[in-house]
Amino acid sequence: MSNQPTHHTQVAIIGSGVAGALCAYRLAAKGINVILLEAGPTVERSDIVENFRATAKQNLTSGYPNPDYAPRPEWVSQEDEFFGSVGPDNMQPEYLRVVGGTTWHWGGITPRLLPSDFEMKTKFGVGHNWPIDYATLEPYYAQAEREMGVCGDDDASTLSPRSTPYPLPPLAPAYSETVMLPFAEQAGLTFSPAPSARNSRGYDGRSECQGFSTCSPICPSAAQYAAIVHVRKAQEHGAQLFDQALVDRLEIDDKSKVSVAHFRRPDGTRESISADVFVLGANCIESARILLMSAGEATPAGIANSSAQVGRNLFDHPGIDSTLVLKQPVFAGRGPETTRLAENFREGGFRSEHASWSFYFHNHLDFQIAAAEEIATGLKPPELDAHFKWKMERTISMSALIEQPPVEANGIRLDWSARDRAGQPKIDIQWQWGEYELAGAAHAKIYLEKIAKAAGAIEQTVTPLYGHHHLMGMIRMGENPKTSVTDAEGRTHDHSNLFAIGGAVFPTGGTANPTLTIAALSLRCADSIERQLKE
């Protein structure tokens, strides 16, 4: 390997998901030289759609590449060998490694955090406080909503005060939601339009939602926002994209600044890049792995890890789902996956005792699993056809998305004795649900059962607690360098030219699906980087 970096830029951003793409776009639009590095390949929407139709595996990631040079976890697969050990409780993180990252397939729901979410320790004695408050982030929430094209109802919810109207009006409710909302209201929940990064009208050159109901795994029409939008915009402003570039090591110089990022190409050749500023936005697991893999003589615990907090405090949004079969048709599987949200239990004094939760109906059907279950009953056509149709018309799912405070023990460790397909050390995950979120789940379950009863459901199944794949933590921001990894801007305490973005920097996650907050923090971080470069 040559000692001379093969590339140089002002800002090198590692990871091209929503955090990296927005940061790259914002900086490139200011005339700053940016190189965006992505471990995975560039993909085209039409190819993803075609892949899903062609593959026998039917899960939310099966249409996306999983190459040896940038492997990723398989979707909820017990046979997956991507991770080493996981436990004691089950956790199956999921993310994509492609240009544009995991927003290729997501629910598109974009609520803001609540003001109290930034002060959990002070208000409820739970978790940690953020080093910033809601008011500080609010202008960036507004910018993120404009960039992504968020639709919502300005008058619907006052939990997160707004300085600007939503860029788009709310989506019309799905017929299934129209049928179900009165039952949920009987159970005590109230609903408002879910803020969503999904076009209720044409916006930013993308079409109005066409109602495919396949928001995840993929929106065929591009009406739902995906970070590829801002990867392309960043390129239009001069940013360079290096795809298939697996960053596996950062180097620091004698001034404790990050000087070089080393990366590997699919054919095994190695390249490196020097930059004035490095930004780590490769999702919380991969970002933490890069920092830990970069351990050296001066930084034996890894880069940016003098606090020993890198790789700790991993958290998610736990969930419980319930699937109902009703007497009357609801016709789920038509239109956006979710358009309405119940926020009754996102906020309240109870948060000192148990987790908060939000609630939504899931207007999506898994036909394949349902058909396999019908066949397994022994039914044959034509009765099979009639019964399957009858059941699909009457099936609806609902979900509670639950708060989970971070605990230091939940996180990752690298197992240098085992390697993944790219030759990187395998990741062991320490994961255990806590009493706080389990109590929140028990509270939510009461309401799932009330709704089922109000609706007169013929069948009801309730899942055990699972993760929403909203990975957060492990490079958390904070005021104290001894207990956090970055400052309030995302700048690492240990290295003044290394920033972190993405869910990794969240101290807590409330009950807001994290993407909008990731986007807002990323835009704010870009402004900080711009100021630092000027200084």
Partner: protein
């Protein structure tokens, strides 16, 4: 190529004799007044080299209860099954065992001889699963996608629900009942 008639009532009984008594009863109950007839391919009228394919086609028609199966999908499924060493024997035997139902306008209320053998019961269920899900599952191989929009599970629901990644309601069309209603 010749065509054969099969009554829906007769085929329903024949295919369900291997299922549980309750399910058989339910199927019989549903179709006891149904004397409709549909047409299947007559494999005996095919040229010798095409007999296995046409028997497979006729069996698929009986198992899926459809005369108008999508021909390219049929050819794909036939090819995947044809790679199995047991395919020909199971196809011919299953068809022979179901043959008594063909060209009957009605079926007897009970006839122990109508039951498929264990191997043939498994085979016809395997065939049905493949057609219905559009995926070929077998221990010998990784699952193989043989059809997407022509998987019969979508044929069952397409009047009222869009086929994922193929159909959409159109803007705001999701707020009202399906147009077919």
């Amino acid at each position: 190529m010749g065509k054969l008639k099969i009554s829906r009532r007769a085929a329903a009984l024949g295919l369900l004799t291997g299922a549980t008594g309750l399910l058989s009863y339910r199927a019989w109950h549903v179709f006891e007044n149904d004397s409709s007839v549909f047409i299947i391919t007559d494999p005996d009228k095919a040229e010798p080299e095409g007999r296995l394919f046409n028997t497979f086609k006729a069996l698929s028609q009986i198992v899926t209860f459809r005369s108008d199966l999508h021909e390219p999908t049929l050819e794909t499924i036939y090819q995947v099954f044809h790679d199995e060493p047991w395919m020909a024997e199971h196809t011919l035997t299953s068809y022979e065992q179901l043959k008594p139902f063909i060209n009957q306008e009605t079926a007897p209320t009970s006839n122990p001889k109508l039951a498929l053998g264990e191997g043939q019961k498994w085979f016809t269920e395997h065939l049905l699963t493949t057609w219905y899900l559009g995926i070929y599952y077998h221990d010998r191989t990784q699952p193989i996608r043989v059809a997407y929009e022509h998987a019969l599970m979508f044929d069952a629901i397409k009047e009222t629900q869009p086929i994922p990644l193929i159909d959409a309601t159109g803007p705001r069309g999701w707020s009202s009942k399906p147009e077919a209603l």
